[in-house]
């Protein structure tokens, strides 16, 4: 009971994930700032933003669904936190079971749906456009992402993340065997997180802030938290699936290596957002279905043949 509460609230549950999410946001903003020759925020800036937003007035335009706007960020937060429970941190897996990869992917998909619904339940044209775009984008990146994630699963013959980790201790990190799959997973993750260059649903110059245009105060804070935690969970998952966990090392060395891998991933994401211009939604659909999906299928076939 006490142990369960510890897992849920502290590690790897709420407190740890929120902290990691905020650290991710800080690292990301700092890196972006340095790429742009700026100084960047101090380490407590994301937390300060969060506190500030929570203390702000909560407004919604008349006609927007108050019910949807309140419940959807909470549902999203709950699902990303739940997903986080099943993702191993440096090989530490308290709740592992066969098939937890599917559960994680399901829960990770919930915020996207919530984002779509929240846009559609609003009255502003920007929100509606943002919601519609997020669904279109979902169809473009989700299939390549699933194909990329099934690579490690097929190779290790297990649909649990800890099973995939175990397989990697024998075979070596999977990104060596599946570089294409790894690339696809990164692109898919960027799409899932709606980050530059695939921030089409919330492109500032086109649809202001997408579905979240009408949001303010605590609800907006919750959405920011969801995005941050979703990002860090996605990164954790990617590392588990493609880098594996160090074998037989002391826990602190394992944690150190894991932290290094996380930083590398954050660097890749930040650099990608700095280096590429935002795609149009039709270009993304074209890229997704003409390039990424075939590449994913070929990669999967290659993995299946290798397994045989």
């Amino acid at each position: 009971m006490v142990e369960g509460l510890f897992y849920l609230l502290l590690f790897p549950g709420l407190a740890f994930q929120v902290t990691c999410g905020l650290v991710f946001e800080w690292a990301d903003r700092k890196l972006l700032a340095r790429f742009q020759r700026r100084v960047g925020p101090r380490w407590y800036q994301p937390l300060a933003d969060l506190v500030k937003l929570f203390s702000k007035e909560d407004m919604l335009p008349t006609g927007a669904s108050d019910w949807a706007a309140t419940i959807l960020p909470l549902v999203s937060l709950a699902s990303v936190l739940t997903a986080g429970l099943y993702v191993p941190i440096a090989g530490f897996t308290p709740f592992s079971f066969e098939g937890d990869l599917i559960v994680i992917l399901f829960f990770m998909g919930v915020p996207t749906m919530a984002y779509y619904l929240v846009g559609m339940s609003s009255v502003g044209i920007y929100s509606i456009l943002g919601g519609a775009r997020s669904l279109l984008q979902y169809f473009s990146y989700e299939v390549p992402l699933l194909l990329a994630f099934s690579g490690p699963a097929v190779l290790s013959g297990s649909w649990s993340v800890s099973g995939i980790l175990e397989a990697q201790t024998e075979l070596g990190p999977f990104f060596l065997f599946q570089p294409v799959g790894f690339g696809l997973a990164v692109v898919g993750l960027i799409g899932k997180l709606k980050r530059d260059p695939l921030d089409i649903p919330k492109a500032k110059s086109e649809v202001v802030a997408g579905s979240l245009t009408e949001f303010s105060g605590p609800k907006l804070a919750l959405w920011h938290l969801v995005m941050d935690i979703q990002a860090i969970i996605g990164i954790f998952l990617l590392i588990n699936l493609f880098f594996g966990a160090p074998v037989g090392a002391a826990p602190w060395i394992g944690a150190l290596i894991f932290g290094g891998e996380v930083l590398l991933m954050i660097f890749i994401l930040s650099a990608a957002s700095s280096l590429f211009a935002r795609l149009r939604i039709d270009q993304l659909a074209g890229l997704g279905w003409r390039v990424l999906v075939p590449a994913g299928i070929i990669q999967l076939l290659f993995v299946i043949l290798m397994g045989v």
Partner: protein, 124 residues
């Protein structure tokens, strides 16, 4: 190489060079030689021709006549557009721009200073 990976090169270059941000109120601010701040007035040189008052596009100057030889200048620093016209107009070199930055206000008529001579009429 630099051509092909232009943006990547710029990114790495930026990452390993010092940030350009100026921490404005905390660090030193370098002003150029010809910076146009609050004006300074040299009553010794002034002959009271009043051209500066006429040419001022912002109506920031008023000439006060003390006697035939002695003139003072009333200056509204927050009306001033810092254009340098009075300095260029004054044939006797009685008006010059200092490097004192004047903070802006909501009411431009609120502050006025009577400039008597260079040392006493300084705006701080």
């Amino acid at each position: 190489m630099a051509k092909k990976n232009g943006l990547l090169f710029a990114l790495v270059d930026a990452l390993f060079s010092r940030p350009e941000t100026v921490r404005y109120p905390f660090g030193p601010v370098s002003l150029p030689e010809g910076f146009r701040g609050a004006i300074e007035f040299d009553a010794e040189c002034c002959i009271g021709c009043g051209l500066c008052v006429r040419d001022c596009p912002a109506n920031a100057l008023e000439l006060i006549r003390e006697s035939r030889e002695v003139y003072q200048l009333r200056y509204f620093p927050t009306r001033c557009a810092f254009c340098g016209q009075c300095q260029s107009t004054c044939a006797r070199g009685a008006i010059s721009h200092s490097n004192h930055i004047v903070p802006s206000t909501a009411n431009p008529d609120a502050i006025s200073v009577v400039l008597k001579d260079t040392s006493g009429g300084r705006l701080d």
